[in-house]
């Protein structure tokens, strides 16, 4: 049996808890993600997709239920431990890249290692190797505003990968890119998945991209309406 990287059981998420405006967004979701799966979460705006992503990414805690990420119970930890989980277990890739401005590609990739307490020497070595893997080794000293969208996203993926996280959590990673560069980014994810066996969770509203993955979870109004494996033709 495959090792489960994510175990979510009966997850609830409400906002304004205890006030008259209490609003329940997720109504008891349950699913497991085995190690090495490339999975996509799709759904319309307002389906609870972003809320689920925040929970998976340990940016927030569920109101109820249990969430175990790579053997760690995320549901009931304090802020400091959550930071550590985000640092070591999760690699974020955002739609708008979110590189730190006025900071070189190299330094951006080094950042998660800095928070992990890795020495400067090792940081530089590992960051260079990682940028080489995403084919950005000739842009080490470039600032984000000197890079194209596709280049920025490749730096962001390198940054997400640098602490060897349990999962890559990509939120609409191609949403701000044209078709061609979007294709390049998707190819990169496939490469990471196929060659390194990374667990990748792709949040998207694009059915074509979702169809490239191994499994699609569809959300609507805070419920999982379908969860099925993609049959490769």
């Amino acid at each position: 049996m495959d090792k489960m990287i994510i175990h979510m059981e009966n997850i609830y998420k409400s906002f304004y808890v205890g006030t008259p405006n209490e609003l329940e967004i997720l109504h008891g979701l349950s699913f497991d993600v085995p190690e090495g799966q490339f999975l996509s979460v799709v759904g319309q705006s307002g389906s609870g997709k972003s809320t689920l992503m925040n929970l998976i990414g340990a940016l927030d805690r569920p109101t109820g239920g249990s969430y175990v990420l790579d053997g760690l119970d995320v549901a009931k930890t304090e802020d400091k431990t959550l930071s550590e989980i985000r640092n070591k277990k999760i690699g974020f890739v955002f739609q708008t890249f979110n590189l730190i401005s006025r900071t070189s590609a190299l330094k951006n990739v080094e950042l998660p290692m800095m928070y992990a307490g890795v020495s400067q020497k090792e940081r530089t070595e590992r960051a260079k190797a990682m940028l080489d893997m995403v084919d950005m080794s000739d842009r080490l000293k470039h600032m984000p505003n000197e890079l194209s969208g596709g280049q920025k996203q490749r730096v962001a993926i390198a940054r997400a990968m640098i602490n060897n996280p349990a999962i890559i959590l990509a939120d609409e990673p191609t949403g701000a890119l044209d078709t061609k560069t979007g294709r390049m980014v998707m190819d990169l994810f496939h490469k990471l998945h196929n060659e390194q066996g990374k667990t990748i969770i792709l949040i998207t509203h694009n059915p074509e991209l979702a169809a490239e993955t191994e499994r699609i979870i569809t959300l609507a109004d805070g419920y999982i309406t379908s969860d099925e494996a993609v049959v490769k033709s």
């Binding site: 940016l59 802020d79 400091k80 985000r86 979110n98 998660p112 928070y115």
Partner: protein
């Protein structure tokens, strides 16, 4: 977390917002330079005061003087000769204290009057005549330029010889050297009742006139020295035994002046003055004087420093304001950093470092500016007040201590006023921060 990394990030931020950073620093720059200027000028004035007194070599000077007893039983408080301190008592004191006393300096005023030069009899100069002993003159504050001091022999023979200051010699005879051997006529018209009012003295020595700090403010009275025995004879006293309301002594090197003066008070008051119904001896030292001057100057400096401190406070508030703006501007960056795993402490530390760097740069510029201003002000004061100062140099040394404290204090301002914005950044919710547009 990495300090060097954070410092580099902070410098980056400052560089990318040069104008804004400079304007923010300006408050700190003005505050720190004001503090440096005020403390340096304050120390300069203080050093000049104490330095002047140190130069005169009189820090171990003790003045011994008579004072009326608080519960005197005598009906009339006039002083009799038997109340005064006599040469005999002073000799006994010297025997008792031996090496602790370097020298004793007694004087007798022979009154005030005018002096002129028989050769060209057109000007009278104000003069005060003081009877001196050789020991007193040698211990004293004057440097002989030409000729000789009043000697023991002059005293023994009650000669009419005189030591005059160099500026009087130059005015009357053209030079100090030319004054030697000249005869001057003195007319005593104030002070002790002189038995003879007008008499001639032969100039045997010229001493160097040193301007005091305030001497330019007053019209000059030339202080001339004559043998103490001659002075006693002029004032109708006993030529062989002197009687004094006060005398000075100089403690030996290394002797505590305050302990010595306490011992001397006890020596006189338990001995010669034990049974005196009206008078006792008290002492006064330059140390007391210095302490008073110093505490007054320190108080003034402290108040001015407080005023300068207010400008630092205003500067600090400016820093806090701009840090709050910076936190708001970089909300998204803070969100990203949190998503990448930055703990709250790292975010807080990053912004505090930035605030401290901003304040420290401001502080260093402020110190440099303050030192330049202080030196310039010192020079200008020397130029403008040259006459009043009479050749005294103002020593403007910005103290290393003040500089270190100022830079340290500006760093502290950075921490203090940076903490609130930094804490605000640290406590941002990562989801809200990531969504911030």
């Amino acid at each position: 977390m990495n300090l060097i990394e954070n410092i580099a990030v902070a410098f980056n931020g400052i560089k990318s917002n040069k104008m804004r950073s400079f304007l923010t620093m300006l408050g700190i720059i003005i505050g720190i330079s004001a503090v440096i200027l005020i403390t340096t000028l304050g120390t300069m004035i203080q050093n000049t005061f104490t330095g002047t007194i140190d130069d005169l070599g009189v820090t171990n000077l003790v003045q011994v003087m008579l004072q009326s007893k608080p519960n005197s039983t005598r009906e009339q408080m006039w002083m009799n000769q038997s109340d005064l301190i006599s040469d005999t008592m002073i000799e006994r004191m010297k025997e008792r204290f031996g090496d602790e006393i370097e020298s004793v300096w007694v004087t007798t005023s022979a009154g005030r009057g005018t002096i002129n030069n028989d050769v060209n009899n057109d000007d009278d100069f104000a003069v005060s005549l003081t009877g001196q002993t050789t020991e007193g003159l040698e211990a004293g504050l004057t440097d002989l330029l030409e000729g000789r001091l009043i000697s023991d022999e002059d005293n023994a023979k009650m000669r009419y010889v005189i030591n005059i200051p160099s500026d009087l010699a130059e005015t009357m005879f053209g030079s100090s050297r030319a004054a030697l051997g000249q005869v001057v006529t003195v007319n005593i018209n104030q002070g002790w009742q002189a038995s003879t009012n007008i008499m001639d003295f032969t100039v045997v020595g010229v001493y160097e006139y040193e301007a005091g700090m305030m001497s330019g403010l007053f019209s000059r009275t030339y202080e001339c020295d004559i043998p103490i025995a001659t002075a006693r004879r002029l004032t109708g006293g006993d030529p062989n035994e002197g009687y004094y309301q006060y005398f000075n002594l100089i403690g030996a090197q290394g002797v505590s002046v305050s302990e010595l003066s306490a011992d001397i008070v006890e020596f006189f008051n338990n001995g010669f003055y034990k049974n005196n119904d009206a008078y006792q001896v008290t002492t006064y030292t330059m140390e007391d004087d210095l302490a008073t001057i110093n505490s007054a100057l320190s108080l003034v400096g402290f108040i001015l420093g407080m005023i300068a401190g207010v400008s630092l406070l205003v500067g600090g508030i400016g820093v806090m304001n701009i840090m709050l703006v910076s936190v708001t501007e970089r909300t998204r960056e803070i969100g990203v950093r949190k998503a990448l795993g930055a703990p709250n402490t790292a975010i807080r530390f990053q912004f505090i470092v930035e605030s401290v760097i901003l304040c420290t740069i401001g502080g260093i510029i402020g110190v440099i500016l303050g030192v330049i201003l202080a030196i310039a002000t010192g020079e200008i004061m020397m130029l403008v007040l040259a006459d009043q100062l009479g050749g005294i140099t103002l020593r403007s040394n910005p103290s290393a201590g003040a500089i270190a404290i100022s830079v340290g204090f500006s760093m502290a301002i950075g921490v203090f006023f940076g903490y609130y914005p930094a804490n605000k950044a640290a406590k941002l919710d990562p989801i809200d921060a990531l969504r911030y547009e």
